[in-house]
Assembly symmetry: C2
Homo-oligomer: 341 residues x 2
């Protein structure tokens, strides 16, 4: 089934994409369909984060199905709210599309968004659709709430604090490498001749195509009465995010290479590809794990928590931000932001 | 001066563009520089609106200077908040840029954004920057506040209500026609040979290049104790917006052609171009005036307000949405949304 968008027009398309949207949060008073959404955020503090994603820069539709793209685009915004120790409540979704896309394509994308919203208890409350001459553009804004005294910023890390990370790192990057390799193999053969070789690497693909935000870690903090001194989510890689935390907190740090959590599949894939797995963790990005600091006194409490790893500690700013390698060398961490190609 | 973006990189660029940003609203607790902005919206209701603008679809940089583009991109979002009878408080600005743009270009764009924020008392609290392969993409989200019982939706119009509009219509569209014509003249000649002929048409250009949102009308409502029954801002043209109001309110309407407010310059320009000025008002768009309804009993009160025109009235839904022409014919209003080209 492939319905041309032209058969529905703008308003028909919006009706079709939004007709199944239901508001479930008490804080969502009015959703899609007016000049603005209306929220009742009461006496909590409001958190706002936003992302702009372009085809060819942030995603490649030859690797990622549209439903997964929708899921991921929503989840990465939820991740920013969790990184403030908050709870995501609403999102707005704006898209621009060229005529290469059908109504069913956009429904698949919205299905992914809606599934993410259901999974995380978030309401889709508005957006904007328009045409594009050059592929798919997505802009998502997420609104969250938090108690004012529970918000965790990037600038609160103090010397001697422990540097911790949730989950494991580098898997999403290795998943991307796997997809790139399989595409190359596929392109060299006739269709049907090869089956992609993903067996035993499902975790890597899932981390790349269907990442999750760490709602559970924020709940774990609340249940264990832990308030991190600083926190950020890992979208660009451990290296960049650590530098952000340290710069804004005006501190240095030491990360121990042998403490960086790496999944077995990530390590095995890196070996197959002859890549350094620490580099994948430091610079790969898209892990959406939480990187945070807690006071040294919390060492025992944090050590006992499942899924949390202490990977280093905070120092005075004069020491800089360093990685202590397995052979005890100290290397300076380097930032990785995008640059114009 | 033309500094390559590559000389600053992502984080240098963000520092440069955001270093002069100051927060002025009490509701803005934390702006640019963390995973999310933090707002304290107290016991008011929160309004959220968002827009995605792409070069070549929503704007053409051969007509519009980047500073004006920034101003307009911000103001059109403020307009959506005023259209709910609210007050804009914060915006987030995300951009994606190709290497065609210099640091100075982006500073000009941000200067426009900041000037709009100063003019309307709004804080810039966050955003996202990334690279693009195909020109300039802009996504803006605006957060506003309103008293819960003062929010005006699109769905409250009732039969016999008066249909009103602020300011005048069609000027922004005629301004665009003027720019298109001058570009054609310019392209046929050598540089320096011709001067654009904009004399006596400054108002049209200003309406196209530097539109304003009707903050003053919302203040006028408050000062005169007027609460419209429904409201929308005119971004796509009077015709589309009237149909939105009527559809959501489940009513019909009659608009009288001779009541549609048209500025002298708009009318003169339409005559020069041999265009129907009513068509420019109905379908031209980008006026960012407010279209609203009030109960019939407010006729005298509204008539006395400067800058407000009563252009028709609301009917039962069975009568449909009609324009009564100067020669007393009734024509059905038609929607104009975008469609895939």
């Amino acid at each position: 089934m492939r319905t041309q968008i032209a058969t529905l027009g703008e308003f028909g398309l919006i009706d079709r994409l939004t007709k199944s949207i239901r508001l479930t949060n008490e804080t969502s008073l009015k959703g899609v369909g007016d000049d603005a959404a209306v929220l009742d955020l009461g006496t909590k503090k409001t958190l706002v984060t936003t992302d702009l994603l372009l085809e060819g820069i942030h995603f490649d539709l030859t690797y990622v199905p549209l439903k997964h793209l929708g899921y991921k685009a929503a989840v990465v915004n939820f991740s920013d709210i969790y990184a403030m120790n908050g709870r995501p409540q609403q999102i707005t979704v704006s898209i621009a599309i060229s005529k290469r896309f059908s109504v069913e394509d956009l429904e698949a994308f919205y299905d992914g968004i809606k599934f993410a919203c259901e999974t995380y208890g978030v309401d889709l409350v508005g957006g904007d659709t328009s045409s594009s001459m050059t592929g798919f553009a997505i802009s998502i804004t997420c609104i969250g709430i938090a108690d004012g005294d529970k918000i965790v910023y990037r600038d609160g890390a103090k010397p001697t604090d422990l540097l911790c990370v949730s989950g494991d790192l580098g898997a999403a990057y290795m998943g991307l490498q796997l997809l790139v390799r399989e595409k190359k193999v596929f392109n060299g053969k006739q269709q049907g001749e090869v089956q992609p070789d993903f067996a035993g690497r499902e975790y890597l693909l899932e981390r790349q195509l269907k990442p999750e935000a760490r709602k559970d870690i924020v709940a774990l903090f609340a249940a264990n009465d832990i308030l991190p001194t600083s926190m950020i989510d890992i979208s660009d890689g451990l290296s960049s995010e650590t530098l952000h935390l340290c710069k804004q907190s005006n501190v240095g740090c030491r990360i121990f290479e042998d403490r960086i959590p790496i999944d077995y599949q990530t390590a095995a894939m890196a070996e197959t590809f002859n890549m350094n797995v620490t580099t994948a963790a430091l610079n790969g990005g898209e892990d959406y794990e939480l990187l945070f600091t807690v006071p040294l006194q919390m060492h025992e409490k944090v050590s006992l928590l499942n899924g949390i790893h202490i990977i280093g500690h905070i120092t005075k700013p004069t020491f800089g931000c360093n990685l202590v390698t397995r052979d005890s060398q100290e290397l300076k961490l380097r930032a990785q932001g995008w640059n114009i190609i």
